[in-house]
């Protein structure tokens, strides 16, 4: 089998970044010289018969919330422009151990608290947001700048940009990928995971990031696949055109033999629980930085969230943590008789950059962050693994579907996602001209 050299892979990625990223804004740091040197090392190792692992010589982009030795972790904030990491985060150590070449760092919304990722545009339509907070990673993958990128997700920050940009985003089970060396937003809701063009690549990157090998590559056959499609009042906010795409997907799955029934979960309550947890944890995570450097340099929304977190009541925080056990039990019970739950990742397609509000399916107009986190945020309460994958287009923009699996059942969920991906036949890509 012909093996493309790491040098060639890195040059190809650097050329695309050079040609396109001036418009897309996916990267905040491109490590061209370092990546070329690492690629040369990987190629020399391969020539000498040493292959480190499944990502040997492959360029990977890292969200600028994650420490890479010798590189600034700015977390999207002017407050941290001198915050040079002394060592790799453990998850980056794992990437390097598997042979990956870190090609650069991707843009994040300020301190991962937001869904807009200002400075990054959507490769499908440059007047639209890429989503966030891992917007740079999703845009980089969608535009073909890299095939592998890392993200983090506290209320949907991997899945939202994946849905906006038409790529696969995987929020693994809570704790499956180490979050050390990743600037925290909320310790008990933060998840770290992969963004990639397809389920197989996302699974491969997850395998490296988690350090737990896949039990086997075989996709789940559709015939016995049992899916619970989420319905009910909390799904009323979904745009009818997005619902139609999910209807079409369900029809294809059923024709392939899958059994789909309708189920309900209290998504709004679970999303509320996440919000009551995130604010005080965020305030606590920022206490030292705020005390040392003051308010200057914080954006208005982030500072407001920190101040509200500082003044939140202990009973509000505890209510969120106490509801978690209840919601986990509901989700896990529902999955005892099903392989996955299915819902739209976000209720609408990627909003316009200039939009302050989003018109939802129930006629309400709400802030973009409230709208886009409404559905995915619930599963940061349960810690469940969730894959978002593109399944169709509305007005030329991708629609993401989310599959929710059992806690600890990451590979089982990825197999289901591979089967759904095959049924969806989504092959569209954004048209980009240098």
């Amino acid at each position: 089998m012909q093996v493309t050299s790491s040098a060639a892979l890195v040059e190809e990625a650097l050329e695309r970044i050079e040609a396109l990223d001036g418009r897309l804004g996916a990267f905040v740091t491109v490590l061209a010289a370092q990546a070329r040197a690492e690629a040369a090392e990987r190629d020399a190792e391969r020539t000498a018969g040493r292959v480190r692992g499944p990502l040997h010589g492959v360029p990977v982009a890292v969200k600028d919330l994650v420490d890479v030795a010798g590189v600034v972790t700015a977390a999207g904030s002017p407050k941290l422009t001198a915050n040079r990491a002394e060592r790799d985060a453990p998850v980056v150590e794992g990437l390097r151990a598997a042979g990956a070449v870190v090609i650069g760092k991707t843009r994040t919304h300020e301190f991962a608290y937001g869904v807009l990722t200002p400075g990054t545009v959507n490769p499908w339509d440059e007047t639209r947001i890429a989503g966030g907070s891992s917007g740079g990673s999703a845009a980089a993958v969608a535009a073909g700048l890299v095939r592998f990128a890392m993200g983090s997700d506290t209320a949907g920050s991997i899945r939202i940009p994946a849905a906006c940009c038409g790529v696969v985003g995987f929020k693994p089970t809570y704790g499956a990928v180490p979050a050390a060396g990743v600037f925290p937003l909320s310790w008990s809701c933060d998840h770290v995971g992969p963004i990639a063009p397809g389920v197989a690549e996302a699974g491969l990157l997850f395998e490296v990031m988690s350090g737990v090998s896949a039990p086997g590559p075989a996709p789940a056959p559709l015939d016995p696949l049992r899916v619970g499609r989420l319905v009910g009042e909390d799904l009323a906010l979904v745009d009818p055109a997005v619902s139609d795409v999910l209807d079409g997907l369900c029809a294809r799955l059923e024709r392939g033999g899958a059994r789909i029934n309708e189920v309900e979960l209290p998504l709004r309550a679970a999303r509320s629980a996440v919000a009551t947890i995130v604010l005080p944890e965020m305030a606590s995570a920022h206490a030292q930085l705020l005390a040392a450097t003051g308010e200057k340099g914080y954006g208005r929304r982030v500072l407001a969230a920190i101040r509200l977190g500082q003044s939140a009541l202990a009973t509000e925080y505890l209510a969120g943590l106490r509801y978690r056990g209840r919601f986990v039990a509901l989700v896990e019970r529902m999955l005892e008789e099903r392989d996955a739950l299915l819902l739209p990742t976000i209720p609408v397609v990627a909003p316009e950059i200039a939009s302050h509000t989003v018109r939802l399916g129930d006629g309400s107009a709400v802030g973009v962050q409230v709208a886009l986190t409404a559905l995915p945020g619930a599963f940061n309460c349960s810690g469940s693994p969730v894959v978002s994958l593109p399944v169709g287009l509305v007005d030329g923009l991708p629609v993401g579907a989310s599959l929710v699996g059992r806690i600890g059942g990451d590979y089982e969920l990825l197999r289901v996602a591979a089967a759904v991906e095959a049924a969806a036949h989504f092959a569209a890509r954004p048209v980009l001209h240098a």
């Binding site: 999303r271 509320s272 969120g320």
Partner: protein, 65 residues
């Protein structure tokens, strides 16, 4: 006005004052309104009982209960 007073009371309880900048204050008022609505939603839906302890790690929720 009610939300301004609610914000003022919360901030005062931890030794802070309303932001001097009107746009900062409006942002906090909007966010506090959302926060209070979510707290109410949680309160309404959760029906928490003494046997529902706090859980910081969802993968250990079964042990929490």
């Amino acid at each position: 006005m009610e939300i301004t007073e609610a914000l003022r009371a919360r901030l005062a309880a931890v030794g802070m004052e309303l932001p001097a900048d009107a746009r900062d204050r409006e942002q906090m008022e909007r966010d506090l309104s959302i926060h209070l609505a979510r707290v109410a939603e949680l309160d309404r839906a959760a029906d928490l009982r003494p046997e529902d302890p706090p859980c910081t790690d969802p993968t250990r929720a079964a042990e929490c209960r």
